[in-house]
């Protein structure tokens, strides 16, 4: 058995199956690594060794009885947006401090049913609002990657920053995330990991703290495309508790990774080239096109003219939904309460104290665009533009089977380098990822190379709704050709 922290999820699964190692041993090693890394990376909200080892021992007992599931004994990291029964779940917000759900999210339940073990809960941007994991109530999360010859602390991306910081540091063999505008794919690109946002409704939202319900997608992180495929297909499935859950069967995503891509038509949209984008991202994109061409794909130039309108439409729709969803935090039934002079004063003081600045900003924007007199001009208008963006993709998928783009317009940036500037500068990080949320179609990021400073960059594969199989086939083809094996040099 190779070093436990360098194994992939599939390798760890096989080592457990062969009896080379027990889940208790593996989990103990990962909990220790989590504790050791927390001081430097600040990537966890909860590390509960007793809980983790309890799950691991139960897994070993199941295996002894011959009842091993698809992820039996495999340690995973869980984003703090997923309710885990009896374990503090805060969405990295002060307003939920101390909240211990009496129920389990459907996605994590699917993972536990398959035998997986939780190492720790991962930090995130507060209520998943952010692209740098600097808005967590517990402070910024640090990226294990650093630029060559520099000790500047970089962001891991966001909102699922804790998940990727942990996994790229070797902690856990996979992680859960959620993606509302790019919160899985952008952090995956910033840390050299694979990040998957499946079709809307593929993974249940039940028990996942809501941000913007029509845009929220639970998904997975893996060290490899195949790891992320197995995780995603295990998390997925119909759930009667989420009325938007897709009722059809879950495809064999892991099997799709072995399917040749010969003959697939790959679209390259000219609109995913923006001013100020580093030349090396453009060059990596061109390389990706060449890799797929060499494997027999047909490359087709396409146009998605609505691309630049996706982000402004998102910054109306997402805050509107968030202002409605977050109305539930009133200090009455759970979470923080700050007593005031009367009921309304209590609401106002509670929410002012419990929500951070970015969350308050988005609630205010959302309240404004939904208020009388502005509803049609902003909210309905944005929903109509959303339709146009969706139609853009529909037209493109008449001509192609998959679309290839860069995942982000830059590599990871320094902590604090954008937070003082205007909020739109941060929002632009999601310019290439947000379109797939608006349309609800599957998209994933695959690590494809390093920039001049030695920081990872990702390529994004987008396919039509419910066609995760083609997405995984193309992603695996890129992974094979890229041969990306770089790891952050250990300093933490």
């Amino acid at each position: 058995m190779s070093d436990v922290f360098s194994m992939s999820l599939l390798e760890a699964r096989d080592a457990l199956a062969k009896g080379d190692v027990s889940s208790a041993e593996l989990t103990a090693a990962h909990v220790k690594a989590a504790e050791d890394a927390q001081g430097a990376l600040n990537c966890f909200t909860v590390i509960d060794p007793e809980h983790a080892l309890g799950m691991a021992k139960a897994s070993d007992a199941r295996r002894a009885k011959g009842e091993a599931g698809a992820l039996e004994g495999v340690p995973l990291v869980i984003k703090d947006l997923f309710a885990v029964k009896g374990v503090e779940t805060t969405a990295s917000s002060n307003i939920l401090k101390g909240f211990r759900p009496e129920y389990e999210s459907s996605v994590t339940q699917n993972l536990w049913d398959a035998g997986a073990v939780m190492v720790a809960k991962a930090s995130m941007d507060e209520f998943a609002m952010g692209s740098s994991n600097e808005t967590a109530a517990t402070g910024p999360v640090v990226n294990p990657w650093r630029a060559k010859g520099s000790d500047e602390k970089l962001v891991p991306g966001g909102s699922s920053g804790g998940s990727v910081s942990a996994l790229s540091a070797g902690i856990g063999y996979g992680a859960t995330g959620t993606d509302t505008g790019g919160s899985i794919r952008q952090p995956a690109a910033f840390t050299g990991l694979v990040g998957v946002k499946p079709t809307y409704g593929r993974c249940s939202r039940w028990g996942v703290v809501a941000f913007a319900s029509s845009l929220d997608h639970p998904g997975a992180f893996g060290k490899t495309v195949r790891d992320s495929a197995l995780l995603t297909q295990t998390m997925a499935g119909h759930d009667p508790k989420d009325s938007t859950s897709y009722p059809g069967a879950v495809p064999d995503m892991l099997g799709a990774c072995d399917k040749p891509v010969k003959g697939l038509r790959i679209g390259v949209p000219k609109e995913y080239r923006v001013d100020g984008m580093p030349g090396e991202i453009d060059a990596l994109w061109a390389k990706g096109v060449e890799w797929l061409k060499a494997q027999g794909c047909e490359i087709v130039d396409i146009s998605l003219p609505m691309t630049k309108y996706a982000l402004p439409a998102y910054y109306i729709i997402a805050p509107a939904e968030a202002s409605s969803n977050l109305a539930r935090y009133d200090g009455m039934r759970y979470g923080l309460r700050v007593e005031g002079e009367d009921l309304i004063d209590t609401y106002e003081k509670t929410r002012a104290a419990g929500f951070g600045k970015e969350v308050q900003r988005r609630i205010l924007i959302g309240t404004y665009v939904l208020s009388a007199g502005y509803y049609d001009a902003y909210y309905v208008k944005a929903l109509k533009v959303r339709r146009r963006i969706y139609e853009d993709f529909q037209a493109a998928f008449e001509k192609v089977d998959a679309i290839l783009t860069p995942t982000t317009p830059s590599a990871a940036f320094g902590i604090g380098s954008k937070s003082k500037a205007d909020p739109i500068e941060m929002y632009l990080n999601d310019i290439f990822t947000v379109t797939a949320n608006i349309a609800g179609i599957p998209a994933m990021s695959v690590p494809a190379g390093l920039d001049k400073a030695g920081l990872p960059l990702g390529l994004q594969v987008i396919t039509r709704a419910l066609n995760e199989e083609t997405m995984f086939s193309v992603a695996a083809a890129i992974e094979d050709a890229a041969g990306f094996t770089a790891k952050p040099e250990r300093w933490w």
Partner: protein, 95 residues
């Protein structure tokens, strides 16, 4: 369209967030920056476009109208800031 400090005060009231007194000027500027930016959407021809509220194509599923959960008051109250004898305790709201 742009917002004034008075507007931001009114929006904060609607959102039940205590007036951000020390940040009012800055917040007004940030909201106006975002509102100016989304003006870009006016360039799009949306004539005849059906507003899209969800990417789900299938109609909402129907189920039998029956009780499937409940009788768990202690679990419901477990995370309450204040609870007594099976009830949430809230500030007085009726004079």
């Amino acid at each position: 369209m742009s917002v004034t400090e008075d507007d931001v005060r009114r929006i904060a009231r609607l959102a039940r967030i205590a007036e951000p007194k020390d940040r009012l000027t800055q917040l007004t500027g940030e909201l106006n920056g975002i509102l100016d930016w989304v003006e870009m959407l006016n360039e799009v021809d949306v004539e005849g476009a059906e507003p899209m509220t969800t990417p789900v194509i299938s109609p909402l599923p129907m189920r039998e109208d029956q009780v499937t959960d409940g009788e768990i008051p202690e679990k419901v109250l477990k995370n309450a800031p204040k609870a007594e004898e099976g009830f949430f305790v809230v500030p007085k709201s009726v004079e």
